[in-house]
């Protein structure tokens, strides 16, 4: 295992060095994420105001808190490899990766984590700024903050494997936009981004319990807002563990099939 540790530290070091040079692009990307959160925040605040201050158990302050935390959760769990892989296959830079005695997923994990560490430097102050601007209401019990550590970790790993499997679609076709779009549409509705799940129709709430999206974003967000009872958190953790297993299995299957296909057809 020391080999893997050495690999990760070396990859981290060099990835940080590379990404630091693109910090302007990183900041701009962050601005995009902030605006995205603001759109939802503004919409639901307007709805709350039209209904006399609150809707579905959420006041304007609650929505502010929800979307600020959601933005952070989104940032901690997101990946971009569904675009990266399409580029890799198209440019032929995928083949060299296959010939290295290291599963390519390790490089991507390292790249992903180092990106987030670097952007956290800007994301945290931005979050505090938004807290100042929008006056959110936080009722987070201390135990929830501790519970958030494994929850966020599981959410990150789960989402990583699911989206990496999605990225591998590039090994079959260059038309990845359609698959990506459907994925992000599902994510939007079932992860609690479009609206807190409590505000969604019944059938969406039921279905979201069976899909992974809720456990990626809504679950950690609701936990950190103090909206969950301890036993709900335990149930959620169980769901996350199950989904992590499923995602990992699916990713492995798609990978071996995808590589076999790629090796049949070539670049």
């Amino acid at each position: 295992m020391t080999g893997l540790f050495d690999i990760y530290t070396t990859l981290f070091r060099t990835d940080l060095a590379v990404q630091f040079q693109y910090r302007a692009a990183m900041v701009i990307w962050l601005i995009g994420r902030v605006i995205e959160a603001l759109v939802f925040l503004s919409v639901w605040t307007a709805v709350a105001e039209s209904q006399g201050g609150q809707v579905g158990g959420f006041s304007a302050g609650d929505f502010a808190a929800y979307y600020i935390i959601m933005m952070m959760m989104g940032h901690l769990t997101f990946t971009w490899f569904m675009y990266e892989f399409e580029f890799r296959v198209r440019s032929g830079s995928f083949s060299p990766l296959l010939l290295q005695p290291l599963h390519p997923i390790h490089r991507d994990i390292a790249m992903n984590i180092s990106y987030k560490l670097l952007t956290l430097v800007v994301m945290l102050p931005t979050m505090f700024l938004m807290v100042g601007l929008f006056d959110p209401t936080f009722n987070t019990p201390t135990w929830a903050v501790w519970a958030a550590v494994p929850v966020v970790l599981l959410a990150f790993l789960m989402r990583f494997f699911v989206e990496w499997a999605l990225a591998l679609v590039a090994l079959w076709t260059t038309r990845t936009e359609a698959a990506n779009q459907v994925y992000f549409a599902a994510l939007l509705f079932f992860s609690g981004q479009m609206a807190p799940l409590a505000l969604m129709p019944e059938w969406v709430q039921s279905l979201s319990a069976l899909l992974p999206f809720r456990w990626m974003l809504a679950f950690p967000t609701e936990l950190l807002l103090g909206r969950l009872e301890p036993e709900e958190v335990l149930q959620g953790l169980a769901a996350q563990v199950i989904w992590l297993g499923l995602a990992w299995g699916m990713m492995g299957l798609v990978w071996s099939r995808g590589v076999r296909r790629y090796s049949a057809v070539g670049s």
């Binding site: 050495d6 590379v18 005695p101 049949a264 070539g266």
Partner: protein, 325 residues
């Protein structure tokens, strides 16, 4: 010489399925539902063996099947038929122990990371190939000396010239001291000096470490400088496997002299076989042995504006080889 071959290829074949696209809206719509394909045989039942430490050149025009063969041997493609063994492994299984002993360098692709110093990219390979640190340092020092990398190691790859970058790419590919080197058009796009540099390095490397080298190229010069043995591939088939000297002697015994005269329309057939005569530029094919003599005669007997001596293009040589089969 009963040693186990480093590379053994038997009846190796690769067939691709290529989609067939017809014109017209109806066909296009139909193709979205049911795709029609046809078979393209890129490599057809080739056989050869390579002993450890040999440098073998794969010659052939574009699309001949050289790169496909190389990809099968390195493990990127799996064969449609036949079998290949490299160092006893089946390449397409891409086992870790296999990957640690080979390297693939492709001429126009870079694996080094653009924005960081070369040495940092080297470090990544050190970690990924799990090279022991003292051995790694020694290798870096050796390669730096052999390739003159000293001033380059601290520079980000984007600041290097094409030739400098190629040197570093080659070095990065050899950090783990692979036993087998697969080189696909390694000198493509480089200027003449750099081409020579890379060639002499590869020869030196092979000498020092006994690595087996498989080199594809459509530059005759690459092969001439490095390979005693060549394999000629055309239309996926192996047309010649033997000593380079034999190939050259057998199939390109001529040179082409292209001469531009002051007075067009002179009859030069007395000097050699006139192959082409356009706008006063005449191409003459002469036997190799007579080249110097004919050149001398042309220069002294004609009013020459310009004169060049060329090897026949490799395609012509291949055509000869093909015609001879």
């Amino acid at each position: 010489m009963s040693a186990v071959p480093a590379i053994a290829v038997r009846d190796l074949s690769k067939t691709y399925e290529v989609p067939v696209r017809e014109g017209g809206l109806a066909a296009a719509l139909k193709s979205l539902v049911h795709r029609q394909t046809r078979q393209v045989e890129a490599v057809k039942e080739i056989n050869f063996e390579v002993a450890p430490g040999e440098i073998v050149g794969f010659l052939g025009p574009n699309g001949a099947g050289k790169t496909t063969t190389l990809k099968m041997l390195s493990g990127l493609l799996y064969p449609s038929g036949g079998q290949c063994r490299v160092l006893g492994f089946e390449p397409f299984k891409r086992q870790r122990d296999y990957l640690r002993q080979i390297t693939l360098v492709m001429g126009n692709r870079n694996q080094l990371i653009w924005d960081i110093p070369v040495l940092d990219s080297f470090e990544r390979n050190r970690a990924i190939y799990r090279i022991e640190r003292t051995a790694y340092q020694r290798t870096v020092d050796e390669l730096t000396e052999l390739l003159d990398l000293g001033p380059l190691l601290d520079k980000p790859v984007r600041n290097l010239s094409l030739g400098e970058r190629m040197k570093c790419e080659v070095a990065a590919a050899l950090l783990h001291k692979p036993q087998i080197l697969f080189l696909d058009e390694p000198t493509i796009g480089l200027d003449v000096t750099m081409q020579r540099r890379i060639r002499s390095f590869l020869a030196e490397y092979n000498q020092r470490y006994g690595a087996t080298v498989l080199l594809t190229s459509h530059y005759m010069a690459d092969v001439e400088a490095l390979c005693k043995r060549v394999v000629v591939i055309h239309h996926g088939q192996l047309l010649f496997d033997g000593q380079l000297s034999e190939l050259v002697q057998r199939f390109s015994p001529h040179k082409t002299i292209v001469v531009e005269l002051e007075n067009e329309g002179s009859d030069l057939s007395v000097y050699g076989e006139v192959v082409d005569g356009v706008d006063g530029r005449v191409s003459l094919r002469v036997p190799k042995a007579e080249t110097a003599q004919v050149t001398g005669r042309l220069l002294s007997e004609q009013a020459v504006l310009d004169l060049t001596v060329e090897d026949p293009p490799i395609e012509d040589v291949i055509e000869q080889v093909f015609a001879g089969v």
